[in-house]
Subunit: 469 residues, 2 copies
């Protein structure tokens, strides 16, 4: 627990923000103090909801002068307890909602931190452009949070992480100064790229208040298929072929194991298996191209050749937009699909793409040995090497007993991940949940450098002090 | 000038490296001590040419212990005097030549710092992949230098800068420790992304010894045209249409003014104007697609519609690969083409794409007023907002007189660049040449943060001490 915030600091901040800029009402605070799955709960002496960058700076300035800690919060969709305060001032960016500019000639839009991802997609669409980051929580998650956690999602394979979508940042630094780095340049080699540090910093180096983001051109053709195949190794080969065949126009490539696929089709209302028989593994593949008809043609060529060569066992190509959505719903329904099965350990790991088959094989074997009967659901963005590796309790097993083994299971999965030079947090970040564990895997030379940087930018460690190193 | 290096430090480094690892022979040193255009010359008490990362670490370790400064050098193709020592130890990475791995399943290759860009392209091609960074000095420039200067080039529009091609870095930090950050992950959210700091740091935060780089799929179709049109504003509209028409498959979009175009066609042997009459402005456009035939089709559609609408005046589509190369040669021959015209001021600026027409108009007018008769050649990667804005002496003018006004001219161009929120060094970096000037344009809040970071990583300021802030 962070040291108590002095009462006069609270009242000074209240005075600066005025009515509507803060709250201590338990009903207002409640949704901000609990992680959305209910796994973490926190507390704060004061929720502040600044409406402008200047108000953010005023709050941070007071806190900096008094050495008072702040937890920043975006859409509160984080999964690793980075956004839940434990006694700090809670600064929500949700009222920073201005759309400052959307310019299709620059292929850039400038949005404030509290704009949701869904709204960002809409703003881009209004000018005939796309914003390419896609995550399931798009209705709640916000630009500030997406940047501060370097969000991933299903489109990383083609477009990269959130990091690669950011042209510029405006942020309030830990000393309360406003850094206006809101450039919209594609090229600017005039010193270290400061914004890269704030991206993925989980609020520890300042509070992102606005960003200049890349827009992309619309695509004229799109084709989606569900493929049944024998193994992750075959899936990796199919991915390489798909890139070759389409010149990198693979929009998504999602691997699913039979168990997750079957549970989702069974448990999520309205879904059905598009293939007539079961397969050990499935891939959802989406091709998208700027050329009319090209995506469909490339997907047909790819699948026909793969069937002929025996690389895949079966495939269904979506014939309508409704069917495309159905296919995607199977992939996106994986969390809902396994929910009725009870307690589960989730892991968000990445390894080099070529190591995915070996990783799954080794992790499956180690878990089966340590925890006989557990049911493993491997799925995820295999084109990025990102496996969401979920471990369900044995059939008929006890939820609490399974929950009690969560750390032991994670250690096995993460040790194997590390043995493949992988990451124990591919896209969710470290927050307060994974920081200690990450330290056991990170290169100490790197950690020393990261700590030195944090110390240089936030010498009092007032910004989200409980997260990262 | 940096303080003299003690003789015992020199001899200790010599002992560690052994024969073949260092030189004080003036003939060996000579090409390392002069910038390739002859604009800067330097000196060093010792050239070291380590053959392994461990040898780099040994040299840096000795220097760190004694507070002795180092200038790192890659292929010595830099344009801003970042690689020329002034009394420091000169550390060349040219002997770090190993190709550690090239893996098409991971779409990654791990190359040491001294591998040239040309060799990198060849390594990628061997496994049926592409490495997408392209700059004119590809035969000399090296991976370490490309990373340390965050190189740009003609393919940034579609693929991004060097920064976006780097998956991981191995580097010797200023304390002499080896940081092994050679991951090949597409997703890794476990703390600040340290490699981003070293990219573009111009050797001030450590010496990049190897890197893990992204590979891209080959493209099945390609089409190149030279277009004649009336204005930069029309060119920007054409770019927007090209992105729309091709779904972002624009591989290059290079603007050229009549003067530069005509001088190049006239002065470079073997070139001829592909269009029957002159136009105020030209664009070289290249479309490339993963779908066979798609690039040609999209380019034809784009140009036909643009001609019909009067957006462009004329266009020639390359019919053969030889003709494609000819078209590109006109663009790449711009420096050679203007050389016979005598003294020139060069500027490497960027502005938001939509501001290019206004930038050119305002800069042209200001220069004509301040220096009547100067001849302006604007060209460059307009899809990135990157204008290479060259100013030739007046016809019959005196070279020395023009050279003497270089700074005054730069001030005008850079002030106007800054008024459009642009960058005074889009892709060449700051080196020792532009650092002081950059300080007059950079946000002091940002500069303070960058200095704090440098101080944190290199408290003795021994790494390339004369460059950056």
């Amino acid at each position: 627990m962070t040291k108590p915030v002095p009462a006069d600091v609270v009242s000074r901040i209240q005075a600066v923000l005025g009515a509507g800029g803060w709250s201590q009402d338990p009903d207002v605070l409640a949704p901000h103090l609990v992680e959305w799955r209910g796994r973490w709960r926190g507390e704060t002496p004061l929720l502040v909801t600044p409406r402008t960058t200047a108000e953010v700076a005023a709050v941070v300035g007071i806190c900096a002068a008094e050495g008072v800690a702040i937890t920043p919060q975006g859409g509160n969709t984080g999964l690793v307890a980075g956004q839940i305060p434990h006694g700090e001032i809670l600064l929500s960016t949700q009222k920073l909602k201005a759309v400052r500019d959307v310019d299709p000639l620059d292929d850039a839009m400038v949005l404030e931190a509290g704009v949701t991802l869904y709204e960002a997609h809409q703003q881009a669409a209004k000018v005939g452009r796309r914003f390419t980051v896609g995550v399931a929580s798009e209705g709640s998650c916000t630009i500030g949070g997406l940047i501060s956690t370097n969000a991933g999602g299903t489109a990383v394979l083609r477009y990269g992480m959130m990091r690669e979508q950011v042209l510029g940042i405006e942020a309030v630094l830990p000393n309360g100064e406003i850094w206006n780095g809101l450039k919209r340049l594609r090229k600017d080699n005039t010193g270290y790229d400061l914004k890269q540090l704030l991206i993925g910093a989980e609020g520890t180096l300042g509070i992102v208040t606005a960003a200049s983001l890349k827009l992309h051109a619309p695509l004229a053709s799109r084709a989606v298929a569900i493929v049944g195949l024998a193994s992750p190794a075959d899936a990796i080969q199919l991915l390489a072929r798909a890139k070759d065949e389409t010149g990198g126009a693979v929009e998504a490539f999602e691997l699913m194991s039979l168990l997750g696929f079957a549970l989702t089709v069974r448990n999520v209302p309205g879904l059905r298996d598009p293939l007539p028989s079961e397969h050990p593994w499935y891939v959802l593949i989406e091709i998208a191209s700027g050329e009319p008809g090209a995506a469909e043609a490339a997907l047909e060529r790819l699948l026909a050749k793969a069937l002929e060569d025996g690389l895949i066992a079966d495939a269904a190509v979506a014939q309508t937009e409704t069917q495309e959505k159905q296919f995607w719903h199977i992939r996106e329904g994986h969390s809902a699909g396994q929910k009725p099965e009870g307690a589960v350990w989730k892991h968000d790991v990445s390894v080099p793409v070529s190591k995915i088959p070996a990783f799954i094989e080794r992790a499956d074997a180690a878990l089966e040995q340590a925890f006989p009967g557990v049911r493993i659901i491997a799925f995820g963005h295999v084109g990025d090497g990102n496996v969401h590796y979920d471990v369900l309790k044995p059939v008929g097993g006890d939820d609490d007993a399974h929950d009690a083994q969560r750390q032991a299971g994670a250690k096995i999965v993460h040790d194997i991940t590390a043995s493949f030079s992988g990451s124990i947090s591919a896209e969710h970040g470290l927050g307060a949940m994974k920081t200690a564990e990450a330290l056991t895997y990170k290169d100490p030379i790197e950690v020393a450098a990261l700590r030195a940087i944090r110390q240089a930018i936030d010498p009092q460690r007032i910004m989200n002090p409980r997260v990262l190193f």
